[in-house]
């Protein structure tokens, strides 16, 4: 069953005489329980695409369906409700509230849904175990390392069991060790909890943790790779091949 269906999505900027096509007629599906990475160089349109899917931005034309709901037609409180209940976000710069503890940052995603205190407490403890952040729950963001912050953010994103978790360059601000740990955790969330994850990245290493990679260049889908039964290393090599094919502008992918 497809959780996300993007069909003929376009996003144009500028005027008729000076048109920039950030997204140019993109279509693809994400099935339930998939871990999909979208790769592309800076300026390829991948972040615009993610913004449109996450309803922060609006497409110029085309449709985006999440779990059967056309998000391009949602407005006002329905849109807010949809974001609260069906989407989870992980951002490059963590976006944790610096005045709240780890526990409170995660709890916020549930309190705004009006969940009961007991349920909130249980769910946070459970998520903390999965993401190995039990010890830092009572710390403030400024007392945590980057990796810890991102895992707290991941916990916040998945705690309400959203239909789709959207991750925007989640390893962008992490060192390699923390990146690896976070990606492994995302992989676990995907496999063990059947969480559907859509990750935008320009890092081939990060992409190699996904089950499928969609390459975007100049606002169009350029290629698609499916991991299948490959090991992560083999998948990584295949991704690098495509990146080489994509040309010089993706040199930073390594």
């Amino acid at each position: 069953m497809e959780i996300l269906k993007v069909s003929n999505a376009c996003k144009y900027y500028g005027s008729r005489s000076n048109l920039t096509k950030a997204i140019d007629n993109i279509s693809f599906d994400v099935l339930k329980g998939e871990f999909v990475a979208i790769m592309g160089a800076s300026g390829s349109g991948k972040t615009t695409l993610l913004n449109c899917i996450s309803t922060i931005d609006k497409v110029t034309s085309g449709h985006i369906l999440i779990n059967g709901t056309d998000v391009t037609e949602l407005r006002g409180e329905k849109l807010n409700k949809f974001r609260r209940e069906d989407l989870g976000f992980i951002f490059q710069d963590f976006n944790l509230l610096d005045t709240l503890t780890g526990y409170e940052n995660i709890a916020l995603a549930l309190t705004i849904l009006g969940k009961k205190p007991k349920e909130i407490d249980e769910k946070i403890k459970e998520a903390a175990k999965t993401l190995n952040i039990g010890k830092i729950l009572n710390k403030y963001p400024y007392q945590m390392s980057g990796g810890e912050k991102q895992r707290v953010a991941a916990a916040r994103a998945m705690i309400a069991k959203p239909k789709l978790i959207l991750a925007d360059e989640p390893t962008g601000a992490l060192d390699s060790k923390s990146s690896r740990m976070l990606l492994e955790k995302l992989g676990e969330l995907n496999k063990e909890l059947m969480a559907t994850i859509l990750m935008v990245t320009h890092d081939a290493f990060a992409a190699s943790y996904a089950s499928r990679v969609i390459f975007i260049k100049d606002g169009k889908v350029f290629n698609e790779l499916i991991r299948g039964s490959d090991s992560r290393k083999e998948f990584f090599d295949r991704i690098i091949d495509v990146v080489t094919l994509l040309g010089g502008d993706m040199n930073d992918a390594l």
Binding site: S54, I56, E77, N80, K81, F82, R83, R84, E85, L87, F89, F91, N95, L97, D98, T99, L100, E104, A107, L108, A109, L110, T111, I112, G114, K115, P117, K118, I120, D121, Y140, Y142, R156
Partner: protein, 661 residues
């Protein structure tokens, strides 16, 4: 020229954000002008010479207070502008990377300061001139004068004074600004926006302990201020404790509340409560010092203003009570028994000038002194009032004389048996011990006859006229007393003018010198009224002046803090919006946070004031001033108007900052 353009652009760009700063500058200028232009009100009102003198005196008084006000406003303006510079560090950093020198950046800042200063001065003066037209209504009411005609009032002196004082303030500000810029390093300027204010997180249990200590200290200070007023040292101690307690209170309160709410998971884990609590906690923790100062300023405002108003109302009531007739003449000369025949006829002032008059004498006897009156409780009384003049004679008046005066004054008359007396008094400080003594029974001996008190309490009344209740006691005795042994004799004549009071007064005043050369003193109603009105007016105007300035200062500091926080918080609200919190909930969260932030110091100040006003009442009571609801209502109205206004502008501005993309 380029620098000038840049300055203008900057001002335009940041104008909306710094509406509060501009508002404060304009209000400051306007208020400064209005209170220094009081003397220009003369033109619009029908005032007599004494009243004009009083207005001039008041103007001098307010001029003195203006120096204090200018210093306060100067500090406020420098504080606010330092605050704004901090927020623009990155912009200045970009100028520097573009190759501008620090000198040029300083020039831009100077230019901006100058332009903003000039605009606010002009707008403020305009507003001040308009407001000063309305001020006439207030002045007219205070002096109970008629607004003879509407006349446009303008005070050039006040205008010049405002310009000069503000010139000095802005000049100081410019020096500060230049200094601030040259101090910064480029790298700090460029990365300033990333650092923001350091998150101050305190141990919650420490906050709770500090909070509890502060409550104990404040409680003790309240106790000292209301129950131990006998000692000036303790009173000072109470004030110091109050200040320390206030600081500790703001240090601990938010942590305490957080801890309290955390223990109730149902409230804690509901909606945006976590966010609200943590935000308030961090806002209060980063502003402990300014919140305490603001709280104390608000406390002074409330106490000063409501006391000033109480004094005003009391003085007004006392005035009506204390001046029942137009003129009272008292002779202190020993051989005068009759004011009319011995004095008025002598100087040639005819009693035909009066529509009615009464005469009477008081006697001093060796056996009728303060000491004898207080004999039953003398030891206690001396403990409380060590300076009591026990040997002073209490004036003794025959009942028929007293009743004549009393009915002329429109007061109760009395009857007496042969061996009785009545104590007539109204001087608040003494009344309580008088009653205590009378309860025990007092006996006076005049000649060889004894007199005991008819009532076991004093009766309110007066003989001499005065702007405040100051009759320390008259002993009213039966007519048949033996007057042969008197030690002193005073004669009184009270009269009401015939026809036009002002003209009659003018005529009477001409005889005043002659009267006093014969040992007679005269008080007139108009005299006492003018003097009292002057005192009242000075009280009210100083209370208003300082009160408004204090209010504006505190509201402005809070508003600036909130606005700078909301630009920092933009990201946080953006994040919450992304995870699906509705705009409405976010607006409400902002309202709650800022509302509580504004309410905190005000609430504490109100609690302080309850005790402060209680304390002030005890002090004022000795001046026979009673607190009243009116004063408290008027104070509340002022605070809601100014403080609430600042809150609203802050809320609207920060809502705009947070919602802009």
């Amino acid at each position: 020229m380029m620098l000038f353009k840049l300055s203008i652009k900057n001002i335009k760009k940041s104008f909306k954000d710094y509406a509060i700063y501009f508002l404060t500058l304009v209000l400051g200028v306007a208020i400064f002008y209005v209170f220094n232009a009081i003397d220009s009100q003369e033109a619009m009102l029908q005032l007599n010479e004494t009243e004009k003198d009083i207005i001039r005196l008041m103007n001098e008084f307010l001029g003195g207070v203006s120096i204090l006000v200018a210093i306060i406003l100067g500090f406020l303006i420098i504080y606010a502008s330092m605050f704004l510079i901090k927020r623009r560090k990155k912009e200045f950093g970009i100028y520097l990377t573009l190759g501008m020198g620090k000198r040029q950046v300083s020039k831009i800042l100077l230019m901006e300061t100058f332009i903003i200063g000039l605009i606010s001065l002009i707008v403020g003066l305009g507003l001040g001139i308009i407001a000063s037209q309305f001020m006439s209504i207030v002045v007219a009411k205070l002096f109970e004068a008629d607004m003879s005609r509407f006349e446009f009032v303008f005070s050039f002196a006040s205008l010049m004074k405002t310009v000069i004082y503000y010139g000095i303030i802005y000049l100081t500000l410019m020096i500060f600004n230049v200094f601030a810029i040259t101090r910064y390093k480029l790298i700090d300027l460029l990365t300033a926006f990333k650092k923001g204010e350091k998150v101050k997180i305190r141990s919650l249990s420490l906050s709770v302990i500090i909070f509890l200590i502060s409550i104990i200290i404040l409680g003790y200070a309240y106790y000292l201020a209301t129950n131990r007023l006998d000692s000036l040292d303790l009173f000072g101690f109470a004030i110091i404790l109050g200040i320390i307690g206030t600081f500790l209170f703001f240090f601990g309160i938010s942590g305490f509340i957080l801890k309290l709410v955390q223990s109730n998971k149902k409230i804690y884990l509901k909606g945006l409560n976590i966010f609200n609590l943590r935000q308030i906690n961090s806002q209060v923790n980063t502003a402990v010092f300014s919140m305490s100062i603001i709280c104390l300023l608000l406390f002074f405002t409330i106490t000063i203003f409501s006391s000033a108003w109480s004094i005003n109302v009391s003085l007004k009531n006392d005035l009506v009570y204390g001046t029942p007739v137009d003129v009272l003449i008292a002779s202190y000369a020993e051989d005068v028994k009759d004011v009319k025949s011995d004095i008025l006829d002598e100087v040639g002032y005819s009693v035909d000038n009066f529509s009615g008059y009464v005469e009477g004498n008081t006697y001093g006897f060796e056996g009728v002194t303060v000491g004898v009156l207080l004999k039953p409780i003398l030891e206690d009384a001396l403990k409380d009032y060590p300076n009591l003049l026990v040997d002073n004679y209490l004036p003794v008046m025959k009942i028929s004389d007293y009743n004549r005066f009393a009915s002329f004054y429109g007061r109760d008359t009395y009857t007496l048996d042969d061996d009785e007396f009545i104590l007539i008094a109204d001087y608040a400080q003494m009344l309580e011990i008088y009653n205590k003594a009378l309860e025990k029974g007092v006996i006076f001996k005049i000649g060889d006859k004894e007199y005991h008190n008819k009532y076991d309490e004093y009766k309110e009344g007066l003989l001499s006229m005065s702007g405040s209740k100051s009759n320390a006691g008259i002993i009213v005795v039966p007519d048949n007393i033996d007057t042969s042994s008197y030690a002193t004799l005073r004669s009184y004549l009270a009269g009401n003018y015939k026809g036009d009071k002002e003209k009659a007064e003018e005529k009477f005043i001409k005889y005043r010198d002659d009267l006093s050369s014969l040992g007679a003193v005269s008080d007139t109603k108009l005299d006492i009224y003018s003097a009292s009105t002057g005192l009242r007016a000075i009280m009210i105007f100083i209370g208003l002046y300082l009160g408004i300035i204090f209010l504006i200062s505190s509201a402005c500091i809070l508003a600036l803090k909130e606005l700078s926080d909301s630009s920092d918080n933009k990201e946080k609200y953006g994040m919450l919006k992304r995870i699906g919190v509705s705009d409405k909930s976010l607006d409400r969260a902002l309202f709650v946070q800022e509302g509580i932030f504004f309410m905190f110091p005000l609430l504490v100040a109100i609690i302080h004031s309850v005790f402060g006003i209680m304390c002030a009442n005890i002090i004022l009571e000795s001046m026979s001033v009673k607190a009243n609801m009116e004063s408290i209502l008027i104070t509340a109205l002022f605070i809601i108007l100014i403080y609430g206004g600042y809150f609203l502008v802050t809320y609207i501005t920060s809502k705009r900052i947070i919602n802009e993309r």
